[in-house]
């Protein structure tokens, strides 16, 4: 008997093509966890600056290095993304934007605005 490859697949995670909204949902959670580590880094920089009035403390000099800049750039992106997607969630909380087309559109808007804000932030910061 010939095998029919056109039979529908059950939505199992390993073979199911996730829609954009699913990736954004997972990404929002990952970004939230990363933002927690960003907050901890912020506190460590402030604590470093508080412990020593003169020479750069470890975390302050880390922030000044190229690696530190890369980390900060990444954190601004995750913070902005979580913020944009959080606003999307707040609209869902008041019952707006549940249609698939709307959810798909706002997912793209969240990504776009987060990337745009990140780039604009770093251009302004490096210009001043």
């Amino acid at each position: 008997m010939a095998r029919n490859d056109q039979r529908p697949l059950s939505p199992h995670l390993q073979i199911y093509k996730l829609p954009l909204t699913a990736y954004v949902s997972i990404g929002n959670r990952v970004a939230g966890v990363l933002n927690s580590t960003a907050l901890i880094l912020l506190v460590l920089v402030i604590a470093g600056a508080a412990s020593n009035p003169g020479d750069s403390s470890f975390f302050v000099s880390l922030v000044g290095s190229w690696f530190g800049k890369l980390v900060l750039f990444g954190f601004t992106l995750t913070l902005y993304f979580h913020m944009c997607n959080g606003i999307r969630h707040l609209f869902w909380d008041i019952g707006k934007g549940f249609d698939i087309e709307d959810a798909d559109k706002t997912a793209k808007v969240s990504i776009g605005v987060a990337v745009a804000l990140t780039i604009v932030t770093w251009i302004i910061a490096s210009a001043s």
Partner: protein
């Protein structure tokens, strides 16, 4: 549909977790507060690499910076604790390890928040 809840539980509005919708509500409240704070933080963070330690201290000691940093630390760690708790509850099934990790994360958040507040105030009051 029949409602199995007692009149008292209806009045108190709490479910089996005993804290009703407070986790949901405080998460949303802190989320709204974080929007302006995150915008401010990102612009500040992007200008940190060009600053010396002395410049960072002077910046933190400004009243506006100090107040916003304190609000950010309090709101941010509260929001982080609620969010991390939700992630832990979703992915750790066993009650014992789950409770242990939630206690650990909560204590880490409280420790970091207090360290941050103390450091901001120390810089603000010594400069």
């Amino acid at each position: 549909m029949s409602n199995l809840r007692t009149p008292l539980s209806e009045v108190k509005g709490h479910g089996s977790a005993k804290d009703g919708t407070s986790h949901f509500w405080v998460q949303r409240l802190t989320a709204i507060a974080m929007v302006p704070l995150v915008l401010w933080l990102c612009f500040s963070v992007a200008s940190l690499p060009g600053m010396t330690q002395a410049e960072i201290r002077t910046w933190i000691s400004e009243p506006f910076t100090a107040v916003i940093l304190i609000l950010l630390i309090l709101t941010g760690f509260y929001h982080a604790k609620l969010g991390l708790q939700m992630v832990i509850e979703d992915y750790i099934g066993n009650h014992g390890p789950r409770t242990a990790v939630i206690i650990g994360v909560t204590m880490l958040c409280v420790f970091m928040a207090v360290l941050g507040l103390f450091s901001v105030l120390r810089i603000a009051f010594t400069l």
